[in-house]
């Protein structure tokens, strides 16, 4: 196997490898700005320079020349090389800043140059705290600057498109954003304009940067040049907790991170998963954060004279029990939903089958033509395949109103039938409608009893993507009943761990009075007289996995370790 020596340590590699990526894969650190593993290599930032040499091979003796000490004679290249674009070669010797004074000097020099015209407005810059330029300047930069002139001034606050704002002065011309629109989203909407130190990225005149993936450029921007209009100046990075989760606005199962402060999700960013979404996510999916914070159903409500009135959980359970008893379980229409998790749907289905009901129905939420073959899918729901895996009865969207017409009591779990136009508001007249949902929507407004359930940002639960990949979410924000301190599934941020009493970051604002649907259903089950006791959704999932063959052997831990597991395709594609 081919070998390469980096800072006097021998590594083996196979096939073609670029030195920078290879070093990163080994856990070594070489600073860089313009390089991105999913895009082409322009080698323009010149920050990843390394000293490179090759052993002298003697063709006559068919071996490497050795010096007096028996070491290979190394002939170093006269110039420093950019490790990002450098192909590893057998026997190559690489010196990074760890062993080379020349490289340390070059890194300092490059950073000094980059900072010459950079505004250094870190205190008010959104990128501060997660800024490669800030971090690398701290680690590898010069002690000060010898630049004593007025900086080049460039346009600021340019609204490139509906979602992205440019500060051209902060830009270091790495061209990541330009390459993203050329190579990943393929809209070619950005280019670098002007020349030399006046360079900055822009759209063509009178064109708008409305790429459906435009916000990814904000993520990959190594400085604060590109910011999201939506998130600008809303939070400092270190004030937020970062929680891995799954996108619920589509069927792709895009891996995301939820960023939470004061129990509000402030932004959603993509999380790398090479098998699903690489480093990217569509802009539309980022907007889901609003639904996690706003227009939430908090505490159970009875709708009396079309006005929602607060009620207790006990009263809510009692009402459901009474209504079902009154009409008989056979006259209840029960709807599960591709918009919520495996656990919630399983619990709902189980409750009613135990009562002698034929089980929960569900219908898909497809919008033909909204998929793009990349990360957007026709499927608007995150768990259509999950409903199929569970064996819920799939009905066509136009059959929903027929099913409701035949029933006296309607139980709907997190599916806005009215808002989607599957039924009219009046179709629910004369029925007793129980809506278990996260948000106030048209269906909630038409219901008689509202029971608030947790959204993906508040619970640990699993979802199956259109490609049959089961992945799970983690609770990112607290509810009235959950706490970061006691819930072991919840992430703990920097301030949780290291904050002092001066860092007033914990508060009880914005906590929604809701519970996971499976927990509510378990409570209902005990009212109906049988037990569905699970301490956590983790335990519930283990139970489901033991019952459903295609999920056997899968657990939360396994999903976490393998970044989601593809379950057999047959189980997810059957249609009713």
């Amino acid at each position: 196997m081919a070998e390469i020596f980096i800072d006097n340590i021998r590594y083996e590699y196979e096939g073609n490898a670029k030195v920078l990526q290879f070093a990163l894969d080994q856990g070594l650190e070489i600073p860089f700005f313009c390089y991105h593993p999913s895009m082409s290599i322009p080698a323009n930032c010149r920050q990843c320079l390394v000293e490179v040499g090759m052993p002298v091979f003697n063709r006559e003796t068919n071996s490497y020349d050795l010096d007096d000490k028996g070491e290979r004679v190394i002939r170093f290249f006269p110039k420093l090389m950019t490790s990002c674009s450098l192909d590893a070669a057998d026997g190559m010797v690489v010196k990074t800043h760890v062993t080379s004074e020349l490289v340390r000097r070059a890194q300092k020099d490059t950073l000094e140059f980059i900072l010459v015209n950079h505004p250094l407005d870190c205190p008010i810059c959104d990128q501060a705290g997660e800024c490669p330029l800030q971090i690398q300047t701290y680690k590898y930069g010069p002690e000060g600057s010898r630049f004593e002139f007025k900086k080049v001034h460039k346009p600021k606050r340019i609204q490139l498109g509906p979602r992205v704002v440019l500060d051209a002065e902060r830009c270091i011309n790495c061209t990541r954003c330009v390459r993203f629109t050329q190579e990943i989203s393929k809209t070619d909407q950005l280019t670098i304009i002007s020349r030399g130190d006046k360079n900055y990225p822009a759209t063509a005149p009178d064109r708008v940067f409305d790429d459906p993936y435009s916000l990814n450029t904000v993520d990959i921007c190594p400085v604060g040049a590109l910011t999201a209009s939506d998130f600008r100046f809303r939070a400092r990075v270190w004030e937020m907790n970062q929680t891995p989760s799954i996108d619920i606005t589509g069927g792709k199962g895009t891996n995301v991170d939820l960023w939470v402060r004061n129990n509000q999700v402030l932004r959603i960013t993509p999380r790398f998963n090479g098998a699903v979404n690489d480093h990217w996510m569509p802009d539309a999916a980022r907007m889901a954060y609003m639904a996690f914070n706003d227009h939430r159903i908090s505490r159970a409500h009875l709708v009396i004279d079309s006005k929602p009135v607060l009620t207790s959980w006990t009263n809510a359970y009692e009402t459901v029990f009474e209504k079902v008893q009154q009409v008989g379980v056979k006259n209840v229409a029960v709807f599960g939903s591709p918009h919520t998790s495996i656990e919630d749907n399983y619990a709902l289905d189980k409750l009613f089958t135990n009562l002698g009901h034929s089980g929960a129905l569900f219908t898909t939420h497809l919008i033909e033509g909204s998929g793009d073959g990349f990360l957007l899918t026709d499927d608007q729901a995150p768990n259509t395949s999950g409903c199929r895996v569970l064996g819920l009865t799939e009905i066509k969207p136009n059959e929903v109103s027929k099913k409701i017409a035949k029933a006296d009591v309607v139980v709907i779990l997190q599916d806005d039938f009215v808002g989607r136009g599957l039924i009219a508001k009046d179709d629910l007249n004369g029925k007793y409608t129980v809506y278990l949902g996260t948000n106030l929507n048209d269906t909630a407004h038409a219901a008689d009893l509202l029971i608030p359930i947790t959204c993906v940002a508040e619970h640990a639960a699993s979802y199956v993507s259109v490609e049959g990949r089961i992945q799970r979410s983690l609770p990112a924000k607290e509810t009235v009943y959950s706490s970061r301190a006691t819930n072991t599934e919840m992430s703990v941020g920097r301030l949780d761990r290291f904050g002092t009493s001066f860092d007033n970051w914990v508060n009880d604002q914005n906590k929604v009075d809701c519970k996971p649907a499976w927990e509510i259903i378990a409570d209902l089950a005990s009212r109906f007289g049988f037990a569905m006791d699970f301490p956590t959704s983790r335990a519930l999932f283990d139970h489901i996995a033991s019952e459903i063959t295609s999920l056997s052997g899968i657990s939360y831990d396994k999903m976490d370790a393998e970044q989601g597991i593809v379950i057999s395709k047959e189980n997810v594609t059957t249609t009713a």
């Binding site: 290599i41 322009p42 080698a43 323009n44 930032c45 010149r46 920050q47 320079l49 006269p78 110039k79 420093l80 950019t82 674009s85 070059a106 020099d109 490059t110 000094e112 140059f113 980059i114 010459v116 015209n117 010898r146 630049f147 002139f149 080049v152 270091i172 011309n173 061209t175 280019t191 670098i192 002007s194 020349r195 030399g196 130190d197 006046k198 360079n199």
Partner: protein, 430 residues
């Protein structure tokens, strides 16, 4: 080295009236080399033989780097049936350089003939001629010449019944120095922003549209018919042995007769200034000269004695041949002002792709502007040299070097003049 330049008859731009017209060019033996090659394409002039002849002639690229042209041709991979290109570089954007436009204006068919032979030798069917955008008239001259060559069957399909096809496209640049750099020239031809590409891969491996491409200077290609007509041995004996052939010297600045002069390579600089260009104007004394375009290191008057205009000789003097665009400066020249002006140019023309050049060129200019206005301090000179070190060899293309060298060499060779302009740096005792 003494070169008999007085009896030299120009070969690239002979003194023939109307030579830019195809009929006159033909009357004087024009396209003879092409006919000769095509007539014996399976005999004496196979593609390999043409390449070897050019290689053996010792012709070195006239664009500045001085690489053996035939050797460069031999790097082209074997034809695989796909397209291959020649890009003729007529961007001519290096300050002090204005030689190729003489070819465009006075002898375009010599260049066209050379390009067709080169295309044949490398099995290329498309030649792009990239001409500096500011050369409006010269682009028109070239377009007319190319049209005429098409009409006479020298270009196009089945040239002179030989079965060889060569198309020639005249392309206008849009006013960027960087597009004279071969890889950004290719980007520009492809319709993209003129950013240099990283090497490897080299153009012969992946050039225009990812296909094998050779980039040659206009003057280099114009030399090819001469080599074919007279043989490599004849060519080798013109001028300096390691850098043979006729050279178009572009002489500008404080001389009595500035202009483009064709003489053998290796001409003594003193001959060129005092005999060819009529000496320094107003009887002044020579102070300095830039031998081959603004990026080549400046030479003091006391450094040029016995130095010829070829790469080896100039290297001993501490400079380079470059494009042989000589800028002559007399004793009244303010060298600080000159350097500021050169730095201004490189600041203006840096494409901005790589950090050291993008930021360094601007910084250099700002310091030099300060010094030029009498506000400089002694320590600024050392900072300038430091910045040169930080730029040299750290970028994708050679523009950072081109911008740093004038600063480095002008300061080291005229340090006293810079110091005279600078205030002493005084540090408080602490």
């Amino acid at each position: 080295m003494s070169i008999d330049w007085k009896s030299y008859k120009p070969l690239l731009i002979p003194q023939i009236k109307g030579l830019q017209n195809l009929d006159v060019y033909e009357q004087h033996g024009g396209y003879g080399a092409l006919k000769k090659v095509l007539a014996e394409k399976s005999g004496a002039w196979t593609t390999d033989n043409v390449i070897n002849e050019v290689k053996n002639s010792g012709l070195r690229g006239r664009g500045g780097a001085g690489f053996n042209t035939g050797l460069k041709w031999s790097f082209m991979p074997k034809p695989d049936g796909g397209p291959r290109y020649i890009a003729a570089n007529g961007d001519e954007s290096e300050p002090g350089t204005f030689k190729d436009r003489q070819i465009f204006e006075y002898n375009p068919h010599l260049f066209i003939e050379g390009s067709i032979i080169a295309a044949y030798a490398m099995s290329v069917e498309t030649v792009y001629v990239y001409i500096r955008g500011e050369y409006r008239s010269w682009i028109n001259f070239m377009r007319k010449a190319v049209d005429d060559a098409y009409k006479k069957g020298y270009l196009g399909k089945n040239i002179l019944g030989s079965g060889i096809n060569v198309d020639m496209v005249v392309h206008s640049g849009a006013g960027a120095y960087i597009c004279g750099e071969e890889s950004s020239l290719m980007e520009s031809l492809e319709g993209k922003r003129g950013y240099p590409r990283i090497k490897p891969p080299f153009p012969a491996q992946r050039g225009l549209w990812g296909r094998p491409t050779t980039i040659n200077n206009i003057e280099s290609l114009a030399n090819v018919p001469l080599i074919i007509n007279n043989g490599a041995d004849w060519y080798k004996n013109i001028g300096a042995p390691t850098h043979p052939g006729p050279i178009l010297y572009g002489i500008s600045g404080h001389v009595n007769k500035p202009g483009v002069y064709e003489y053998p390579s290796g001409m003594l600089i003193t001959d060129l200034i005092y005999n060819v260009a009529g000496g320094i104007r107003n009887g002044k004394k020579l102070k300095a000269l830039i031998p081959g375009g603004s990026s080549t290191p400046i030479l003091r008057a006391d450094q040029i004695d016995g130095i010829g205009m070829d790469s080896d000789s100039l290297r001993t003097a501490g400079s380079m041949l470059g494009t042989a665009g000589m800028v002559i400066m007399d004793e009244d020249t303010d060298i600080v002002d000159v350097l500021w002006r050169i730095s201004h140019f490189y600041h203006h023309e840096s494409c901005g792709q790589c950090t050291p050049c993008r930021e360094g060129t601007g910084w250099l200019e700002k310091i030099l502007h300060k010094i030029n206005h009498g506000d400089g301090e002694m320590r600024d000179l050392d900072l300038l040299l430091d910045l040169c070190t930080q730029m040299e060899g750290r970028t994708v293309c050679a523009l950072a070097d081109a911008a740093a060298w004038p600063v480095r060499y002008t300061i080291t060779r005229f340090r006293d003049e810079f110091e005279a302009r600078c205030k002493n740096t005084v540090y408080a005792l602490s």
